[in-house]
Each structure stands twice: as structure tokens, then as C-alpha cells.
């Protein structure tokens, strides 16, 4: 009875660890080895479009609305203390440090991550990956690597765009609608936002999230059970696992960057 349960725990631990091992090997298989720029560059550009440009709309809309909501909520609190002049720093710091990287990563997991998992899972199920291998072309280099790099390049840029649009949204609500002084909105922001402490740390966060999300998405697709159920399960797992991982890493990074 107990031995049975222990055995089961041991089993699932081993398979989890083996899963990490496979994922690690996959990543290194894809990224090590000399890159071939002549063939690799067009593939990368295509993925930058598919992963980055096609995610742009959802990022713009979400950024705008989150900025507007932040300004609205922030104003209601600040105005009680007569501190509505601090609306600019409140909106921009919330976005740069937290909401920009985190929400972008969550949206990215839902929009691009799930699509990547499904795409690669389907390639596996329809034997496209196997047949590529039989043509002596390494699917890790041909399929996985360009998607990985495209994701790593796109996510920080998307997060920056998210921030910029959010700050504009805050301006729209705070200044245009609620009547905060435009000069104080911008100058207080300028005075309180530090390039390294706030902007760069946000970029570092979203770079880490990019690695995590894209790695999970690619691995779940590559490791999917090659059936329709397997692919749908893998797609769900990508969104759930990647979202939780982003929130977990966010806490750790926040503690390291702003904790002390």
C-alpha cells in the first residue's frame, strides 16, 4: 500500500525530471551548433512576423486599457491626498516594473505560445518532423531554433510597446478626462522613473519570461502525444504551465530586483 504509493511518487518524479532533461536537450540541440545565416535568417524573419507582428494587436489593445484603468483607479486614491500630480509615476512605474512584462508574457503565452505548441504538435502528428529527419534535416535547427529566437527577440519589444501604449492610455484618462495637469503628469514621471532601476529591470524581466514561455511552448509541442487529444492537451498545458511559471519567476525577480 505505502510501497505502492511511494513507487508512484518515485515514478512521477523520475518522469518529471526526465521531462526536464529532454526539454533541456531539445533546447541545446536547437541552439548549439553553428548557425547558418544564409538559410536561418529568412526563417527567423518569418517567425518574427508570425510570433511578433501578429501578437501586436492584442498587446496594443490590452496595454491601452490597462493604462486607462490604472489611471482611473490611481486617480481615485491619489486625489484623496491631493497627490494627483503623482499619477504619472504611479502609472508608469506599475507598468514598467510589473504589469508590462507580466501581462505581456501572459498574453504572449495565450496568443503565440498556444499557437506554437499546436503547430509543432501537428507537425509531429502528421510525421512532418520525422520526414524532415529522414531527409537529413534536423528539425530542431530548422523548426525549433528560429521560433525560439523570434520569441526571445519579440517579447521584450512587445513589453516595451505595451508600456508605451499603457502610459498613453493613462494620459488619455488622467489628463484628458479627469483633468490632471499634463505638465505634472509627464514631469513627475520623468523625475521618478530611473532608466536602469525601472526600465532595464523591466526589460530583463520580460527577457526571462520570454525564455520561459517560449521554451515551455516549444517543448510541449515537440513532446506532445501525436494525436488530436494529445495536441489539445499539450496546448492547454502550455498556457497553464507558462502562466504559472511567469508568475513564479516574477515573484523571484521582483524580490531580487526591488526587495532589498
Amino acid at each position: 500500500m505505502i510501497a505502492d504509493r511511494l513507487q508512484r511518487i518515485g515514478h512521477s518524479t523520475i518522469s518529471t525530471v526526465a521531462g526536464f532533461g529532454r526539454a533541456g536537450f531539445m533546447l541545446f540541440g536547437a541552439l548549439l551548433g553553428k548557425p547558418d545565416f544564409r538559410k536561418g535568417f529568412p526563417l527567423l524573419v518569418k517567425q518574427l512576423y508570425v510570433i511578433g507582428v501578429l501578437s501586436l494587436l492584442i498587446i496594443l489593445v490590452s496595454g491601452l486599457f490597462i493604462g486607462m484603468v490604472l489611471a482611473l483607479q490611481g486617480y481615485n486614491v491619489l486625489v484623496k491626498f491631493g497627490a494627483e500630480g503623482m499619477l504619472g509615476p504611479l502609472v508608469s512605474l506599475s507598468l514598467l516594473r510589473e504589469l508590462g512584462p507580466v501581462v505581456t508574457a501572459l498574453l504572449f503565452a495565450g496568443r503565440a505560445g498556444s499557437a506554437l505548441t499546436a503547430e509543432i504538435g501537428l507537425m509531429k502528428a502528421t510525421e512532418q518532423l520525422s520526414s524532415m529527419e529522414m531527409m537529413a534535416v534536423d528539425p530542431l535547427r530548422r523548426i525549433i531554433a528560429p521560433r525560439f529566437w523570434a520569441g526571445v527577440i519579440c517579447m521584450p519589444l512587445l513589453a516595451l510597446i505595451f508600456n508605451a501604449v499603457g502610459i498613453l492610455g493613462g494620459h488619455l484618462v488622467g489628463v484628458e478626462w479627469l483633468g490632471v495637469d499634463a505638465g505634472s503628469y509627464w514631469s513627475a514621471m520623468q523625475a521618478n522613473v530611473d532608466l536602469y532601476q525601472d526600465v532595464m529591470n523591466g526589460v530583463i524581466k520580460s527577457l526571462v519570461f520570454a525564455l520561459v514561455v517560449i521554451w515551455i511552448a516549444l517543448h510541449k509541442g515537440y513532446d506532445a502525444v501525436p494525436t488530436s487529444e494529445g495536441i489539445s492537451r499539450a496546448t492547454t498545458e502550455t498556457v497553464v504551465t507558462a502562466s504559472l511559471a511567469v508568475l513564479g519567476f516574477d515573484f523571484i525577480l521582483t524580490a531580487v530586483m526591488f526587495g532589498g
Partner: protein, 268 residues
Amino acid sequence: MLSEILIDIQGLSFSRGDRPIYRAMNMQVQRGKVTAIMGPSGIGKTTLLKLIGGQLKPDSGKILFEGRDIPRLSRSELYQARKKMSMLFQSGALFTEMTVFDNVAFPLREHTKLPESLIRRIVLMKLEAVGLRGARDLMPAELSGGMARRAALARAIALDPELIMYDEPFAGQDPISMGVIVRLIRELNNALGLTSVVVSHDVTEVMSIADYVYVVADKTVIGEGTPEQLRNDPSPLVQQFLRGEADGPVPFHFKAAAYQDELMELTR
């Protein structure tokens, strides 16, 4: 002088998890011939092709391709060897995001430095050979099942391989495209001097094109010979398979407890 035997499988054993698929199997494929491997579904025919292609590693035994043991090759040697073989997957496995033309051009662009004009000429030639020159600008989703398989065949012969392996080329085809594919396999084999391995459970088609046939069941080869020899094979197993009978030495039912016992259990 090239050896007459292209693939030599010696004492091959392979398991999926703890379920054995092959046990100490021997098999040889003659150069320039059409060799067929027949057996019921799920017996491990696709698995065997993947073993030959080096995608899976056997538990023990040798798989010699041109005298070199595939499972023992280094990664780059394996990739060199794979350029001489090609495999036609059951589903065709065309790359869905490329046109038929780009699919056929794919191995050429990956492995040669030929100028685009020459690649174009080769691709059109290969497409002509399978009767799909007019379909070059279609996407794989726009092709019928039979056309997709022929397009995949054009891609498989793009690099003029020594060996081509067909996984269930006849499964799910209408009678006309079945006939087309049967003829193509034979013609390509003779015209290009290829060696062909055809894996299938369609007895009539296989017996009509194969030079040599292996019947695989119960984790090993149960019968072999030319189609003529096989028809006269005394083994009841082989005869059951050739005639497609459900009852015989090979059980039709998946292994289970005796039916009566289970029924009794229900009434108890």
C-alpha cells in the same frame, strides 16, 4: 563491385517500453529489387522502417546499410547515410505551409548548392514523373490523398536516393490511384535503379509488384520468398495471412481472459 545486399538486418531485437516488437529478426534487402514486408497492422512495420532510418535504436542486433551499422553511426555519419535513403510516410507528410513545388525543392535547397534555375528544372522533372507537374503551385491541403502521396513521392526521389522506403503506400487509396501508385513504384524502381522497400498489409498489390516478400508476425519473420514461393508456402500462418482469414494460428482477438469467465464474473 557493389555488394548485392543493400540492407542486412541481423538478430534485431526492439521493444517499446516493456512490450517486445521484434525478437532476433533477420532480413535482407537486395539492391535494385522491390522487397515487400507484409504483416498485420500494429505488428511494427512502421517501426522497422524507422529503425532502418536510424530514428529508433534497437535493443540489440545489427542493421547494416551498405555494410555500415546504422545504430552505431555518429550523428553526422547517420545524416550522411540518410541522404542516400528516403522514406515515403503513410500520410505523405508534406510540409503544410509550402507549395508542392517548394516541398519537392526542399531537399535540393537543403543539401545542394545548385542554382535556382537548375533546381526548378529538377523539380519539374520529378513532378512530371509522378504526373503532378500541373499541380506545382497548389498547397498540400488542396491535394487529394492520392495526389498528396505522389507529391511526397516526387519529394522522396528529388535527391536520387539509393533506397526508398514506402510506408503503407496503398492504404486508403481509391482503386485508380492505387493502380497509379503500384505502377509508379515499379517504374521508378526500374528506371532510376532504386532499391525499394514496401511495407504493407495489402496482399494483392504487394504480391503483384514485389520481387521478394517477407511476412512478419509474432515479432519475427514467419515466411519469405518470391511471391510464387510464398503462395506455395506450407506454413499455415503464412497461408492464413495471404488469404485474409480471421481464424487460424494468428488470433483475431486481442489477448484477454476467456470470454466465458468474464461473463460468469458479471452474473456472479
